[in-house]
Symmetry: C2
Subunit: 151 residues, 2 copies
């Protein structure tokens, strides 16, 4: 295993604000704890990376594949009117790629979710059900391993 992978440590703010859904070959898939939106992030398990272009070409392509799998899931399985994808990192610089299933009736449409500032936590059973659904729908994606237990 590459040293940069073994040294990877998830930023504590990402840890606190989201739940592990599972791991692709490169990235953690995490559900943001805000039931206003179906909002997940991919976090490549590589230490010290803040920009997409800092990834190796192979890792860029792998992240593209993982992002594609997540994007298709949100677009095809959930009632998504528009997908929002972004790598911002102004506050948490550790590279993480947002995927948000936006709906015309969500609380801040057509504004962006960042800065909306009125997050609503999931109830335990809602969160578990949603994570189970995400895991089930991704189970046939190459290299996806669901989290062994829900945090």
């Amino acid at each position: 295993m590459k040293e940069s992978v073994t040294q990877f440590k998830l930023d504590s703010r990402l840890q606190n604000d989201s739940f592990l859904v599972g791991n692709f070959r490169l990235s953690q898939l995490r559900l943001l704890n805000d039931k206003n939106f179906l909002w997940v992030i991919l976090v490549p398990r590589i230490a010290g990376v803040t920009e997409f272009v800092q990834l190796s070409t192979a890792d860029q392509l792998q992240l593209l594949n993982e992002s594609g799998a997540v994007s298709r899931l949100l677009l095809d399985y959930f009632p998504t009117d528009k997908l929002n994808t972004a790598a911002i990192g102004n506050i948490v610089s550790q590279l993480h790629v947002h995927h948000i299933a936006r709906r015309h009736d969500d609380p801040c449409w057509p504004g962006v979710v960042w800065g909306y500032g009125k997050g609503v936590s999931y109830e335990e059973d809602e969160k578990n059900a949603l994570i189970n659904t995400l895991q089930n729908e991704l189970k046939n994606e190459s290299g996806f391993e669901p989290a062994p237990s829900i945090e």
Copy 2:
């Protein structure tokens, strides 16, 4: 030329809010007319596409290359503290990928630029100089053709 390329028409709001810098093989590169930020967009010249995953695999890889060229330019040539990249499209659904060179001293750091709402237009000479710089720095990128005249 593919029918979807010949049928491409730039959304009028993107046209009005930005200047053509040049064309990569797939995408227009355009400079947003807001001198608060160095903010460019890539617009694939394919009709009817609103989501990245709707592009063919070849076009996804091409857009990844073009985004990489733009990202490296912003990170390496300009005083960029953090790159923000995003495909949002809640208002203009035509696929366009934002690349914004964020600085710790810019007007809305660490907030996002969308919704900031206080755009400041470039003076003609500033805009021309910046477009010339962008064109010059990209001239060795494979497939990049600078706009024949500045709009």
